[in-house]
Amino acid sequence: GESVGLHLPTLSVQEGDNSIINCAYSNSASDYFIWYKQESGKGPQFIIDIRSNMDKRQGQRVTVLLNKTVKHLSLQIAATQPGDSAVYFCAEKVSNFGNEKLTFGTGTRLTIIP
C-alpha cells in the first residue's frame, strides 16, 4: 500500500544551527504535502504546506522542498530555537472526488541543544 515515511526517527541540533528533516512518500497521486509540529501533550500544529506542482515554499524560518522525481520532502528550520524541540510529521493528502484523506509519517523527534 501507499505510505509516507521519515528517514530519521531522532535529530539533535545545536541551538542557532539549521536543521533538516526528511520524508519519503510513495503515492505519486498525492497533490498536497504538509508538515506538522507536535509538542509534548498537544495536538499536531500546522507548520507549512506545499502543493505537488511546486518545488519550494518558504515561511518564517521554515522552508519545505519537494522533489517529485525521487518522491522526497524535506523541512528546513533556520536558526533553531529551544521552542523548535518537538516531533515533526510529514503528511500527504490525496483528493479523490471529494474524499479528503491525510496520511502521516511516523514522525521525527527534533531536540535543540542549548
Partner: protein
C-alpha cells in the same frame, strides 16, 4: 473560544465498557477526522466524515463507531473497550475548500 475541542481529555475505563469521545468544532468545517496515535505507528486514521450524515472508514476502524448528526460534532464510540485501544485520540477538521487540517488537543484513553 473558536476552534476544535475534545472531551474528555483524560479517561480511564475498564475492558468491555462503552466509551464515547466527543469532538466539537466551531468553524463549520465540512470534513472531520478521528486519528489514534501510538508509539511506532504515528497517526492512523480511524474514521472520517465528509459532511453531516456521511462517514467512512479509515485505516483502523475495527472496534469503533462514529456518527455525524450535526456538522459541528463528531463523536467516537468504543462499544466494548479493549486494552489495545489504549491510545491518544485526536479529532481534526478540514474545510471543503482548504487543505489545512486542524487538530484538537487530544484525548488520552487508558483501558485497564
Amino acid at each position: 473560544d473558536a476552534g476544535i475541542t475534545q472531551s474528555p481529555r483524560y479517561k480511564i475505563t475498564e475492558t468491555g465498557r462503552q466509551v464515547t469521545l466527543m469532538c466539537h468544532q466551531t468553524w463549520s468545517h465540512s470534513y472531520m477526522f478521528w486519528y489514534r496515535q501510538d508509539l511506532g505507528h504515528g497517526l492512523r486514521l480511524i474514521y472520517y466524515s465528509a459532511a453531516a450524515d456521511i462517514t467512512d472508514k479509515g485505516e483502523v476502524p475495527d472496534g469503533y463507531v462514529v456518527s455525524r448528526s450535526k456538522t459541528e460534532n463528531f463523536p467516537l464510540t468504543l462499544e466494548s473497550a479493549t486494552r489495545s485501544q489504549t491510545s491518544v485520540y485526536f479529532c481534526a477538521s478540514l474545510t471543503g475548500l482548504g487543505n489545512t487540517i486542524y487538530f484538537g488537543e487530544g484525548s488520552w484513553l487508558t483501558v485497564v
